[in-house]
């Protein structure tokens, strides 16, 4: 359905996206992952025809969208990261406005608005000015606006940023419903690995403008099939302890946060004795040490060297 062929975008001397190849089949939910500055938003801009690539092409049903962007725009819905709504207008007025942008009018527009408000659960608040809405409600309306013209392809750029878990679940369920009930194809970018794991059939991982991995959840996790993850928790983590772990020859990778250290080692390696010894040397007490199979987050760390939310 959609294909990115050697897609690149260069700003002055810097490549924001470099030779990205990607395909999306009809009815799929595709996850696009990457830390900040990975090139996701630039890629999304080119996929949605808002930005022209420096080189390469975006093909929809085997035709370049660059030739007839107007035709492509009629069948694509874009949900930007920002709340792209007029906050001085009501939910109803926003939908009316954007509906008219899509040349909808009269009873068609009215019915569509009712349907969308029902879908995003805002029928009761339709007459309220958007600036009085909670973050989650704004996000839901933001999604609703992109659905007014029944797009075949929905592009969602981090649609759950900064909202409460309840609204996030509502949005994720809505995306699932749209995909199942309307056979809508979705490209979904997120900072939340669990969302991508929950929603997506296939995942593309980007870093520094390059595509560094792709496949289903399982395929990607298999990248680390020969490794395991050890998660260490302590309230007293210090530099000495961390450097002792980093210098250990069997440790492949270490990521630290305030109270947790995650390290990757070969599957057969047991580090328990060494870790206890290091803790003693550094004068700290460990709260817990867990062995687990690698998650998508671990794969991401392995590939990019950065946590997803860095």
């Amino acid at each position: 359905m959609l294909e990115l062929v050697d897609l690149s975008k260069k700003f002055k001397q810097l490549y924001a996206v470099k030779n990205v190849n990607m395909f999306v089949e009809r009815g799929e939910i595709i996850g696009l992952l990457g830390p900040n500055g990975a090139g996701k938003s630039t890629a999304i801009s080119m996929i949605s025809s808002l930005a022209e690539p420096t080189s390469g092409d975006v093909r929809f049903h085997n035709e370049s969208i660059l030739k007839k962007p107007g035709d492509f725009r009629n069948i694509v819905g874009v949900i930007p990261q920002e709340i792209a709504l007029y906050t001085d207008l009501t939910a109803d007025e926003n939908l009316q406005f954007f509906g008219r942008m899509y040349r909808l009018k009269g009873s068609t527009l009215k019915n569509k608005i009712n349907e969308i408000l029902d879908l995003v659960g805002l029928t009761d608040r339709r007459k309220d000015v958007v600036k009085t809405f909670s973050g989650g409600m704004k996000r839901r309306l933001n999604i609703g606006v992109a659905l007014l013209h029944d797009p075949e392809l929905l592009i969602m750029d981090e649609p759950t940023v900064g909202i409460d878990p309840q609204s996030r679940n509502y949005i994720l369920e809505t995306v699932k419903r749209l995909n199942k009930e309307r056979d809508m194809t979705v490209i979904y970018t997120s900072h939340y690995m669990e969302e991508v794991e929950f929603l997506c059939d296939r995942i593309y991982i980007m870093d520094h403008g390059n595509l560094i991995a792709s496949g289903t959840n399982e395929e990607i996790k298999r990248i680390l099939s020969s490794e395991k993850t050890i998660s260490i928790k302590s309230d007293q983590l210090n530099e000495q302890f961390i450097s002792l772990i980093q210098e250990h020859p069997l440790v492949n990778r270490v990521v630290t946060t305030d109270k947790e250290i995650t390290l990757m080692v070969a599957k057969e390696v047991s580090m328990f004795v060494e870790l206890t010894k290091f803790a003693e040397q550094a004068g700290i007490e460990l709260t817990s040490v867990h062995n687990r199979t690698p998650t998508l987050e671990d794969v991401f760390l392995h590939l990019t060297g950065r946590a997803l939310r860095d």
């Binding site: 930005a51 930007p80 920002e82 709340i83 007029y86 207008l89 406005f97 606006v145």
Partner: protein, 371 residues
């Protein structure tokens, strides 16, 4: 396109304060500084030597003066007023002469003297007629003077004196200077702050949403420009209407022309605003730049004071690239100088040219910056 304009007006109705504030400020400044066109009078203390001015003609003539109100006092009081700076000058009248007591040398003093001279001349003229007609009784004298007054009010023929106004002549009218100046100045803010949402819409992705819809990009631009133009123009119409209908300022019969000829100026300011919107990077920069641009343009363009009093070559040169200069030239030209359409064509053309160039440049810059 219509949907965009309607949505903008809907939001304007919800939040009209920027428009109201700048309209009220224009009205307030124009009214306070320029007045409402009524002629202000200067009070002049006046006294007469004992026994003088028995004839009321002289007194009446002075009291009929429009520019001055002669306040009859005794000589000591008059001198006190002048000494204390309460009056610029005073007049002591005698039978066939007068004395001018000057406290402050000002252009008003010579005008006071001219008024007093006119009164004496009229008085002497009437006395000469009475003498020539040999009206020796009081009744005859009174009848004669009444006939004279009646003839003066409806003469058999009138002699109209006109003069050619040379190209360099300057007509200064404080009311129109302030009205036009402050209106053209404050409308810059109204228009600019109406185009500011483009920056916000681009930042918040609303612009992208519109671009992704079947609406053409030019339609989005035109809708924004038309809306800003309408709001700026409506502000100008409201201000001029308040002065015309509310304060009875008759624009020398050129009210409709003034309204129509404001159009090129509003167009140029809309264009300037779109250029500024394209140049600045964010709302904070825009908020900082607009007052600087508006105030300096108003000073250089003659909105606060007439350009004719500016002597600096640099400022005069800068005024040539300033829309306010041409806006003021058009409005003053049509109202005060009675310019013909051919004479107005030059400033109109400059404003239209500025508008076209700045709109093109602004949109080009915006498109280049937009990723």
């Amino acid at each position: 396109m219509i949907a965009i304009i309607l949505a903008k007006f809907r939001m304007f109705i919800r939040n009209p304060w920027t428009f109201i504030i700048f309209t009220v400020m224009s009205l307030g400044f124009a009214f306070i500084i320029g007045g409402n066109g009524a002629v202000s009078t200067i009070t002049v203390p006046i006294t007469a030597e004992e026994g003088a001015i028995e004839n009321i003609n002289l007194k009446e003539s002075l009291e009929n003066e429009e520019a001055f109100r002669f306040n009859w006092l005794d000589e000591e009081e008059m001198r006190n007023q002048i000494e204390n700076g309460k009056a610029e000058a005073g007049v002591i009248l005698s039978d066939d002469s007068y004395q001018l007591i000057i406290g402050v040398e000002s252009p008003n003093v010579s005008m006071i003297e001219q008024a007093v001279q006119r009164a004496y001349m009229k008085h002497n003229q009437k006395e000469a007629i009475v003498k020539a007609a040999e009206a020796d009784t009081e009744d005859k004298r009174e009848t004669l003077l009444q006939d004279f007054e009646a003839t003066m009010e409806s003469p058999v023929f009138e002699v109209e004196t006109t003069r050619f106004t040379s190209e360099d002549a300057v007509i200064y009218d404080n009311t129109f200077q302030s009205l036009f100046g402050f209106t053209l100045f404050f409308v810059i803010y109204t228009i600019a702050y109406n185009l500011l949402p483009i920056l916000v819409e681009k930042r918040e992705g609303i612009w992208d949403r519109m671009i992704l819809s079947p609406v053409k990009k030019w339609e989005v631009y035109v809708a924004n420009l038309v809306y800003s133009f309408l709001e700026g123009y409506i502000q100008i119409v409201i201000i001029f209407c308040v002065f015309h209908y509310g304060l009875k300022l008759d624009f020398y019969g050129k009210f409709v022309e003034v309204l129509l000829l404001s159009v090129p100026y509003v167009f140029a300011i809309v264009a300037l605003s779109i250029l500024l919107t394209a140049i600045v990077k964010n709302v904070q920069q825009f908020n900082a730049v607009i007052p600087i641009i508006a105030v300096s343009m108003a000073m250089i363009g003659g909105a606060y004071w007439p350009l004719e009093i500016v002597e600096s070559e640099i400022l005069i040169a800068l005024s040539k690239i300033n829309p306010i200069t041409y806006g003021m030239e058009i409005l003053n030209g049509v109202v005060l100088y009675g310019y013909s359409f051919e004479e107005l064509l030059y400033p109109i053309s400059i404003l239209v040219l500025m508008g076209v160039v700045m709109t093109g440049l602004g949109i080009h810059l915006m498109e280049r910056r937009h990723v």
